[in-house]
């Protein structure tokens, strides 16, 4: 069991991650993993909901998004581009079943493929956000 003192903290206490995923059980699972790792997690079902959260809630540190989300007006790739353009400080992680291997996607800081993402999403998120802290 992880020591509480090792959990990710910032001035507010926790880093905030926005999970964008249209499959409810996967969203629930990813969000649970990240919460158990000590992050504050917000959930959106598509890119439109994600943009509403980004515009209205407390600062988001990382967006973890699926690619194909037909219930919204934009894909995860398009969402990533918008986030990178409007909130350049926000880290972006693509989590998709359509990515064969972890590889570069423009505007994404990390790419995880499903189903492996479930096992390492918290670890990768922490690595990204720790790197963010080091930069500052």
């Amino acid at each position: 069991m992880e020591e509480w003192s090792n959990r990710p903290e910032n001035a507010e206490g926790r880093k905030t991650i926005l999970v964008v995923e249209d499959e409810v059980l996967i969203r629930m699972t990813l969000a649970d993993d990240l919460r158990e790792a000590g992050f504050k997690v917000l959930e959106a079902t598509n890119a439109d909901e994600a943009m509403r959260i980004l515009r209205s809630s407390d600062p988001i540190d990382l967006v973890a998004t699926d690619i194909d989300m037909p219930s919204g007006s934009a894909s995860g790739i398009e969402l990533a581009a918008q986030v990178r353009s409007q909130w350049p400080q926000v880290k972006i992680m693509i989590v998709s079943g359509h990515v064969a291997t972890d590889g570069p996607i423009e505007a994404a800081d990390a790419v995880l493929s499903k189903p492996d993402a479930l096992r390492c999403v918290a670890e990768r998120a922490r690595a990204l956000l720790d790197a963010d802290n080091d930069e500052w």
Binding site: E23, V24, L25, I26, R27, M28, T29, D32, L42, E43, A44, T45, E49, R52, I53, S56, S57, G97, K114, P115, A117, L118
Partner: protein, 306 residues
């Protein structure tokens, strides 16, 4: 899609994630509203699963390894069902799982009462304290042994009736399992009331949709506390009688709003609760048609008390 989803979220893993925390499934399509109420419930120690549509909710509910203790559901929903439809689905497929409907469409309150065993519909915008109170009460009721949830005695050839709710947002609803807004004189039920605890209530008189209900006081409860609680919920005990051992109150078989009852309470010289000290607009909990409906009951209620 389904295949790798099952790979990712196999049963054992989902079961482990459900854990021992009491779990609330929130079904709400407005993302910022869902976010706010989910945050509030998580801070209060509940595990929260978020669904944006009724289809997502059904998907979660059909997953046998995901433990859900109570559902909090908006009435207006996208997907295959609205909130009422989802309540019917839950009744058919997960009977016994409490569902709290939230919303304020005109004329919907009675329908919500008929569909839900968990009490009158809560009004939007969400009042976190009301939501928490309702969830706590429902979860407490789930802990009761089965016999304490039964009603006795019942009339011959008729399913037992019961008083559904007396703790929130309005007067008690008296209803039998066939959803008719009636009950039998002589029926006794056991109610859970916040701060008061469990109270036995017996219907002693009935006239149309107005009932006289005698609340027997538990030894540890002061009569004034019970009267105050009843009054807060829109039940005027002064119309009937109160003794050292029991309180008999007139109960309207419908939903009465906090806003509607405020003038009656002030007129009676009762102290204002914290809720009533809020600005008036925050007390608007029901659409206009509900207020008119209450007015229709006024004359009947007065003649009954007399």
């Amino acid at each position: 899609m389904r295949f790798w989803m099952q790979t990712m979220t196999n049963g054992e893993e989902l079961a482990k994630r459900s854990g021992q925390m009491e779990t609330v499934l929130i079904v709400e399509d407005e993302v910022l509203v869902r976010l706010a109420i989910a945050d509030c419930l998580r801070e209060c120690g509940y595990k929260v699963i978020e669904a944006a549509t009724s289809d997502e909710a059904v998907q979660v509910l059909q997953e046998p390894t995901v433990k859900i203790d109570v559902i909090l559901c908006d009435v207006s929903l996208p997907g295959g069902f609205d909130g009422f439809g989802l309540a019917q689905w839950v009744r058919a497929h997960r009977n016994g799982l409490p569902i709290i409907l939230v919303g304020s469409p005109a004329g919907a309150s009675d329908a919500a009462g008929d569909l839900c065993d968990s009490g009158p519909m809560l009004a939007k915008p969400y009042d976190p304290q009301l939501v928490l109170d309702r969830i706590k009460r429902l979860l407490a009721e789930l802990q009761l042994p089965p016999q304490s949830k039964q009603v006795a005695p019942s009339a011959p050839n008729r399913p037992p009736g019961r008083i559904r709710d007396i703790s929130l947002s309005g007067a008690a609803i008296l209803a039998d399992p066939e959803r008719a807004m009636v009950t039998e004189t002589g029926q006794t039920v056991r109610l859970f009331m916040t701060e008061v605890g469990f109270v036995e209530a017996t219907v002693v008189r009935q006239s149309g949709r107005i009932f006289a209900v005698r609340f027997n006081l538990p030894p540890s409860v002061e009569r004034d506390l019970l009267i105050r609680k009843l009054f807060t919920r829109g039940i005027n005990t002064t119309e009937i009688e109160a003794s050292a051992m029991s309180v008999t109150a007139a109960v309207l078989g419908g939903i009465v709003t906090t806003r509607t009852m405020k003038p009656r309470r002030e007129a009676a010289g009762m102290p204002q609760s914290e809720e009533e000290k809020l600005p008036a607009e925050s007390l608007v909990m029901q659409p206009e048609p509900q207020v008119k409906k209450l007015a229709e009951f006024g004359a009947e209620r007065q003649s009954f008390a007399a």
